[in-house]
């Protein structure tokens, strides 16, 4: 077993109304960042995970996302990083 650091990004599904993202975009516009076309605010989850290898860590994390970390109805997830902790 090795300990891995796994980072997961969970974001609201594209096309769904994202009032939080819109509020942040509006605030950035008011600060003068005119180039901001859209903002999507999600969650960044970092796991410290014991697994035999990186593939196993990735596989387990995928299942965690499907079962708990993301809502399959409204959110998409991406496993952004798997590295040895």
């Amino acid at each position: 077993m090795k300990r891995f650091r796994v980072a997961v990004q969970v974001v609201p599904r594209r096309g769904l109304l994202d009032p939080q993202g819109k509020a942040v975009a509006d605030a950035l516009h008011s600060l003068g960042f005119r180039g901001v076309a859209a903002v999507h605010v999600g969650r960044h989850v970092v796991l410290e995970l014991d697994a035999p290898d990186a593939d196993a860590a990735r596989l387990q994390t995928r299942e965690m996302c499907e079962r708990l970390l993301a809502n399959p109805v409204t959110e998409d997830f991406e496993i952004a990083e798997v590295s040895v902790a």
Binding site: P12, L16, L17, P19, Q20, A23, R43, L68, L69, N71, V73, T74
Partner: protein, 230 residues
């Protein structure tokens, strides 16, 4: 008839639900602790409002894995009635008892106010004592009440008469911003395919005593009493 009110850590509407049953319709009600895997022979299960498990991660996401929820899901699969108010609705969606999800209010604000609703169907065990099209007022108190689902799911809910309550302006007042959370198609409450699980964001259990305003929630409990066989 025996009602069971689930208490999760962070539930705050459990007493209101118990009170609505015992005082509103004079029936027996007990609390069901989230760690127990026993419905104590209850005929009807209520998932109350609150902030179960602090609403960490997503509202209802963690509560659905508590031991009592396995029993509640089994009860629902057997056709047993389940009523889920507010946070309970969020838990029921997360548990797959109802389709869709409840997202952050469009305004990004927690809204605590009486809201107007239209009863869309009296053809459920929960609404038979209302008239179809009746306008009622119930309190809401939530930050994550924006009902969302994909278009096919919404079409199906409407086609099968499973949208039970919709936010609606009072017929006596001018059209205003009557949808308090931006829910799709103004949906405030739905039932599952079998018609035995009701989820709704408003709080009928907080509107059973004339002391606190129009007791528009009482017919919901009376409907259950009349329509659910024991």
């Amino acid at each position: 008839m025996k009602f069971g009110v689930v208490t999760f850590p962070g539930s705050n509407g459990d007493y209101d639900a118990l009170h609505a049953v015992t005082e509103g319709i004079g029936e027996e009600a007990v609390y069901l602790w989230h760690k127990d895997a026993d419905l104590q022979g209850c005929d009807v299960v209520i998932l109350p409002g609150g902030f179960s498990y602090g609403d960490y991660l997503r509202a209802g996401a963690i509560a659905r894995f508590s031991p009592i929820m396995r029993e509640v899901v089994a009860h629902a699969r057997r056709g047993g009635p389940v009523v889920a108010f507010c946070n309970g609705f969020q838990v029921a969606c997360e548990a797959g008892l109802l389709p869709g999800a409840l997202l952050r209010n469009e305004s990004l604000k927690f809204v605590c106010a009486p809201v107007g609703l239209r009863v869309e169907t009296a053809d459920t065990p929960f609404t038979s004592n209302y008239q179809r099209g009746q306008h009622i007022v119930l309190p809401i108190a939530h930050g994550d009440g924006r009902y969302s689902a994909d278009e096919q799911t919404l079409d199906r809910l409407e086609g099968e008469g499973r949208v039970v309550f919709r936010y609606a302006p009072s017929p006596l007042e001018a059209e205003e911003a009557y949808n308090p959370n931006g829910s799709m198609r103004d949906i405030a409450g739905i039932v599952n395919e079998g018609g035995n699980v009701l989820g709704m964001m408003p709080h009928p259990e907080r509107a059973v005593d004339p002391l606190l305003g129009p007791p528009d929630g009482l017919p919901l409990f009376e409907s259950i009493l009349q329509r659910v066989p024991v």
